[in-house]
């Protein structure tokens, strides 16, 4: 009952948390992101969606589903685990590893990274390194459901579901039905500061 996934949802629903996106808002944002992606790429050809673990993966599959409904096309979809590419291993200790699954070679394709919260940009840097280690995509694009600011690297998202100005002591939690039981985006003030999700 007290799995990490569940407790993330609990944080979102705690008394101090304010809901900034409802399940319906989130669903509309995903649909819009799919449309934006298709417009920028002039169709689904050559795309490969790569969700960043943990919550980027179900988001990537939802965008995959939205593209199927819009265009009737199947976009290869996979997952990237950035743990081995992080720059803070020595400070955080060895985190459990997740699987990195590339659905097809990325060479010559447009690799679209999908993440829930864009924060410092360090997770994205690590994900880019993972993709480039695997192959040479013609481009790497970034889709983030929420951009909360406070970048520490020169990285920006190509498509953002919701821009959310925050203070560094606030915490943004995205909950998804696949992981947490329900959809929503919450903001809360964390006395310890920072986002313990890893500051993507």
């Amino acid at each position: 009952m007290s799995s990490p996934a569940r407790s993330a949802g609990e944080v979102g629903r705690s008394a101090t948390a304010r809901q900034v996106l409802t399940a319906d808002d989130l669903s509309r944002a995903v649909t819009r992101l799919a449309h934006e992606l298709l417009e920028a790429n002039k169709g689904p050809q050559g795309l490969v969606l790569l969700g960043i673990r943990t919550r980027g993966v179900p988001l990537a599959w939802r965008i995959n589903e939205a593209i199927r409904q819009i265009e009737g096309a199947e976009v290869p979809t996979g997952a990237v685990d950035v743990t081995l590419y992080r720059d803070d291993l020595q400070h955080r200790g060895p985190l459990p590893l997740g699987q990195t699954e590339f659905p097809c070679p990325v060479d010559g394709r447009v690799a679209v990274l999908v993440d829930d919260v864009l924060y410092t940009g360090r997770t994205i840097r690590a994900a880019m390194e993972a993709v480039l280690e695997f192959g040479r995509p013609s481009a790497i694009r970034l889709v983030a459901l929420v951009d909360r600011g406070h970048r520490e690297l020169p990285i920006r998202a190509d498509h953002v579901g919701k821009n959310l100005p925050t203070a560094t002591d606030q915490r943004v939690s995205v909950t998804l039905a696949e992981v947490d039981g329900a959809d929503g985006v919450f903001i809360s003030t964390n006395s310890r500061g920072g986002d313990s999700e890893g500051g993507g």
Binding site: D81, L84, Y85, R86, L89, Q90, H91, R92, G93, P94, L95, P96, L97, G98, Q99, E129, E133, F134
Partner: protein
């Protein structure tokens, strides 16, 4: 987990954590091996004071796939052959800013002693007759990969248990994971006391075959023959060697493991060694993934408060 000296230091959860981590480092069939930047800027020293080919190369590849710098230090041609003491060698390495030491030594206890001199993780790559923990972990990984589990299996360890660090580590690893172990060996090749181990003993391999899931063959060290531990390699093969007739009497899914290097015709016949039941090449391939997992878990914990196991 600060060092990896003995399997006995690990409980079932630690072992599972290492095997699960190694799972992520295995290369899917048909794909080139991936290289990770994880240990960039870290230096691993392979301190091999006893000859070894496969273990040293396996650790070397594992460290390099994680982008660590590797220094290979062997006894031959080094200050050790000039009579430098073990302690001074350790202090020299420490002073040069090494981040981990992988040590192979003919002296049981050398890795433990080294861990007292150094602040960095020490990984035992085999010490005397004592322990060879990464060998046991890669064997457990290979068995789990084949059966999907480790508990509720019956493993026979056949041969020279007395002189084998591999046997000691494998016995402790396999029993820690809840499998049943039977030692099959002539009395001359068993240690005088089996006290800490929960194992059964027999000299009759043939009677045991139908109920085994795994036959783990230990290498016959030829130099033992002249010391009268057993009469001849032919007689050894007749009583304890694995051949196709014996393989045929085992369960359909049963497998044969061997830590290498194999003496074909003594503890294993060539047709068994080349059969699908022999997982010897899987063991070697999995060795790299398991050693990557050990390096990742030991070198990853920089801050003491991050200590998870």
């Amino acid at each position: 987990m600060r060092h990896l000296i003995s399997i006995r230091d690990l409980d079932a959860d630690d072992i599972t954590r290492i095997l699960d981590t190694a799972e992520e480092f295995t290369t899917p069939a048909g794909e080139p091996a991936r290289k990770y930047p994880t240990l960039r800027t870290r230096t691993v020293c392979n301190l091999f004071l006893e000859d070894s080919t496969r273990t040293r190369i396996s650790f070397d590849i594992a460290a390099k796939r994680l982008s660590a710098d590797v220094i290979n230090f062997s006894a031959k041609g080094s200050s050790v052959s000039k009579g430098e003491s073990f302690k001074d060698t350790a202090l020299t390495l420490d002073a040069m800013g090494i981040d981990a030491v992988v040590i192979r030594s003919a002296s049981a206890g050398a890795p433990l002693l080294l861990s007292h001199y150094l602040d960095v993780p020490v990984l035992n790559a085999g010490d005397g007759w004592h322990q060879h923990p990464t060998q046991a972990l890669l064997d457990l990984f290979t068995i789990r990969q084949h059966f999907g589990r480790l508990d509720d299996l019956h493993v026979a360890i056949v041969g020279d248990v007395l002189h084998s660090r591999v046997a000691r580590s494998v016995i402790e690893g396999v029993t820690a994971m809840g499998a049943r172990v039977t030692l099959v060996a002539p009395d001359t090749l068993l240690p005088p006391s089996l006290a800490p181990w929960d194992v059964e003993i027999t000299t009759d391999l043939d009677a045991l075959l139908p109920e085994l899931d795994v036959v783990y063959l230990l290498r016959v060290q030829r130099e033992r023959m002249s010391s009268g531990f057993f009469p001849s390699s032919r007689e050894y093969a007749r009583f304890w060697g694995m051949n196709v007739e014996r393989l045929a009497r085992m369960k359909d899914r049963a497998v044969v493991l061997h830590p290498g290097p194999m003496n074909r015709g003594v503890e294993i016949t060539a047709d068994v060694a080349d059969s699908d039941a022999a997982l010897v090449t899987d063991q070697v391939a999995n060795g790299v993934a398991v050693r990557m997992a050990c390096l990742y878990l030991l070198l990853g914990s920089g801050e003491p408060q991050q200590e998870a196991a």
